[in-house]
Amino acid sequence: MSQSPLAIKTDNVGRIYKKKAAKRVSRASSPDSSRQLVALDGVTLEVEKGELFGLLGPNGAGKTTLIKVLTTLLTPSFGSAEVLGYDVVREPKAIRERINMVSGGETSGYGILTVKENLWMFSQFYGVPTKEAHRRSDELLARLELTGMKDTRVSGLSTGERQRMNFCRGFITDPEVLFLDEPTLGLDVHIARVTREFTREWMRKNPERTVLLTTHYMAEADELCDRIAIIDKGRVLACDTPENLKRMLQAQPVFQIRAGGLSESGIDGIRSTTGVIGLTQEFDLETSHHSLNLILQEESVISDVVGAIGAAGGKLVGLEKHEPTLEDVFVKLVGRSLKEDVTE
């Protein structure tokens, strides 16, 4: 086993998709930008062993591309990346012995096999002894509330049940580094909570194991992750603990305003008020009120905002100051809310 203290290390790693076969290119070269897509643009990260590390980003930010590079499914176009001290390009085999991955929404599996047979089959590709594989699958299935389905053929499972089976598949090989790419995507609230609890429990029982998690759910990232990297357009915008990230906004007050009678142009007017750093909005169909979340340069700006609401023909219904959330940090860094995105 590698003596590297780091589970994951990337150094200026990037990935460019070309219409034709991609080649490893130097960043210094200037390829024709109209025929390429920069999915990952020089990401530098260090994840220590035992960390539950989160990647937050909107659609197309490069989260899944980074996971593909780290899981050796995709060669980087430039830069370097290591998992457990092994280079993703030169030593893929050493990495594969030590990792596993679960993708959200993944419904793979042989329909003709039962849940338990599918899990056993995958465990064999990692050399897990059969007896141990059965013990682990029983444990995982019980934990994910799938015991009753263990002898059901995969073709007879619902989409959510298939996802849960794949979640078990990720853990059955007891990987040193586990990549969870949107693991709770599409799961119902209860099962999503069970998977989160299980992940935390697994990390607690196995303090040397590392998880890299991508998610759209702020609360999930806030609840689970030791550290979070916010990524957009292939670049890391910030990387710290959730608390430290939120502390970034301590000097900048966050207000929530509810107002009626606002038009889109009126909201644009509020957004352009001097001193407004970030604004996200939601519309409540029931009350016909807009809920505006504002990050301000300083507290005194709020009076200008209230004035702008009046000028736009809106009626103030409620106003409150609150502690910054990860969502606010995200809005400040990316410029829009994650809620405005759908799955990547």
Binding site: R96, G127, V128
Partner: protein, 277 residues
């Protein structure tokens, strides 16, 4: 997990990947219709054609032996060459690549299940030939017959593994390519007529392509050994055995290289996880 030897991991993977095929055969017996009934009916049609042409009865034996080997050919094309494409389509290929096992082990596992399936079909074809059409095979050189048969299968499945990496590069709708391997291959391998008739009628380059398909000389040698005196082989059976052995070495090597190449290219191009629809 991390301490397992590569050889042990290879065989564990072969076993694990063979199991779904075996279970599938048991749980979905409808394959019997497709894998056995259709080929048997087609074989019977060719038998009657020879009878309608008033051909010597030995030709019925030719057709039966051709049908036996065609079972393995079909299995190689559909259950092996096409398999990586299907796995990719179902999102499984990336999980295989992600695992420490080799793709070769996974393909060997698939082929093991496939060989069992094809053997059922081959055995039934032989039984029908012997009982229904009264074919008589010579049995005095059986060890050599089994040797030729075994080496032919190794070469054939080596070719299948090479084709699987070729098919996956084809992209969309590769079953068109698979279908194009039916009749042309049946023609080039002399599945229903003596290979010498083909070699005498076609340009050298076609004969060369034919010689590269392991079934051609395998079938020609088996016909000479099991139906002696009825046909003139292209070469004596022993020479053909050496040629097939050469093909086995060649295709096992090309399959190893091409699978490695396919995986590397797919990682560079980012197509391993692509779902086709």
């Amino acid at each position: 997990m991390r301490s397992i030897s590569p050889v042990r991991l290879f065989f564990k993977t072969v076993h694990a990947r063979a199991v779904p095929r075996m279970i599938g055969m048991k749980r979905e017996p409808s394959w019997i219709f497709l894998e056995i009934l259709v080929p048997l009916v087609n074989t019977t049609a060719f038998v009657y054609l020879y009878r309608a042409l008033h051909a010597p009865e030995a030709y019925v034996g030719f057709v039966i032996l051709g049908s036996v080997l065609s079972a393995y050919w079909m299995n190689v094309v559909w259950a092996m060459a096409m398999q990586l494409h299907w796995e990719k389509k179902e999102g499984m290929l990336q999980l295989y690549v992600l695992s420490p096992s080799s793709l070769m082990a996974i393909l060997v596992g698939m082929s093991y299940g496939g060989i069992v399936m094809a053997s059922w079909r081959a055995a039934l074809t032989l039984i029908v030939g012997l009982l229904l059409f009264n074919v008589h095979f010579a049995t005095d050189q059986l060890p050599l017959v089994f040797l030729v048969f075994g080496v032919t299968l190794i070469a054939l499945y080596g070719l299948g593994m090479t084709l699987s990496s070729l098919f996956i590069r084809w992209g969309r709708e590769p079953w068109h390519l698979a279908l194009a391997f039916h009749e042309p291959a049946f023609f080039l391998t002399g599945m229903n007529f003596p290979l010498s008739a083909l070699f005498a009628s076609v340009p050298g380059v076609i004969s060369l392509i034919s010689a590269l398909l392991p079934i051609s000389f395998g079938l020609d040698a088996l016909r000479q050994l099991l139906l002696p005196g009825t046909i003139v082989g292209v070469f004596p059976p022993m020479t053909e055995l050496w040629l097939i052995a050469g093909l086995a070495v060649l295709f096992l090597t090309t399959s190893y290289i091409s699978l490695k190449f396919m995986e590397r290219q797919a990682r560079v191009e980012g197509t391993l996880a692509l779902r086709l629809s």
